[in-house]
Subunit: 220 residues, 2 copies
Amino acid sequence: MTLTTAEENYLKAIYHLSDGGTKSVSTNDVAAEMKTKPASVSDMLRKLGDKEVIEYRKYYGVNITEDGKKRALQTIRKHRLWEVFLVDKLQFSWDEVHEVAEELEHIQSPLLIQRLDEFLNYPKFDPHGDPIPDEFGDVRARPRVALNEMEVNQAGQIVAVKDSSAAFLKYLDKVGAYIGARIKILDKVEFDGSMEILVDQKKTLFMSKDVAANILAIQS
Amino acid sequence: MTLTTAEENYLKAIYHLSDGGTKSVSTNDVAAEMKTKPASVSDMLRKLGDKEVIEYRKYYGVNITEDGKKRALQTIRKHRLWEVFLVDKLQFSWDEVHEVAEELEHIQSPLLIQRLDEFLNYPKFDPHGDPIPDEFGDVRARPRVALNEMEVNQAGQIVAVKDSSAAFLKYLDKVGAYIGARIKILDKVEFDGSMEILVDQKKTLFMSKDVAANILAIQS
DNA sequence: ATATATTTTTAGCTATATCTAAATAAATTT
DNA sequence: AAATTTATTTAGATATAGCTAAAAATATAT
């Protein structure tokens, strides 16, 4: 059973909202995510339920099925591969890729995606640092590294901190190094291990080795 | 006024059937080309008429307008650029590209097409030898060359013959070198100017310089 | 436990794009 | 010129995907 473009988009939204299928999602939440009305969502949930990509119990929200999860991951795979293409090959910047990838992800051609993957040299992460599922829907566990272990020119995304004291979090917030921030190592001072880091492609930040050692990132 | 995917496809069909807008096209012809029913075509022609991309007089077929011509050429431009991408970068063969390009051509992003054009190094012809209109809809006049003037490894498409005697055409037909055939020069014998030519990616053909000099092709 | 508020669904409508069957216009035969 | 054939359009369906307004179910507050 094939899904329409609209169905694929709903399924992807449900996958994200359910944290990869680990919790159920309400009609209202889907409506907010899809920027549409709850009435439209009810209709669509019935359709997705019929196609067995979600489990739908009226008034009790939805859970994504195993089949639905696989399909959502395939769409996510396509989206992220196209993002890599746009950034690496067509010189798009991070903030320009999403909309276009949102259209490209619905092109139906397994051969196209296989060849694109090959052409891009089997990337494991998209330009935002998000992992690209393989053709079976498997996602590579994100290898987390402390910032001080990253090399100059390495890019990545901040995903966690080791020291979660209020003082440290406050400091991070102040300098703009929040969880989820895209970073790139600009320079490393050999003498004391301090670093110069580009945050979100705009702000440059200096931090000591001690601070860097307490910030965990995934590499792109 | 933007066109839907279906409207774009109809407009492209009308452009082709009208030989680039030089003659009017009947409802039945459009139906045959689009593999749909005349009743559906009537409906669509009314819509395209409202959007002023065609001139529609009931029962008398349609003529494409200047605006319609420009839009059709933009779609054709996108289609052919994607075909070049698929063949040159993703190792698709000629016969695999059409369907996928048919989907890709509807992606809405002027920046994408501009960057793709640049990435492909501004190609002037698609893998079938058809010219790629520029961003203003201008099509480069096809430079026709006699086969004997082509270099080894040059690919192209047979578009005309100099000698159009029945005998010559009969010979061409017999060996499979019809108008429209995709060819590639495999070898050239310096001694007598005779050539070895690959036709439609499968058949190998030997021809004398005299024969080659009477066949005109466009180069890819 | 009843009333109120929130969430969700249903009913009925719109628009796109298709279809079949019937009606009508144009072209062709006789 | 009338009859027939062909081409085209209209009328009335269907399916998808959205909407608003009203109804119904669930959750929360008094």
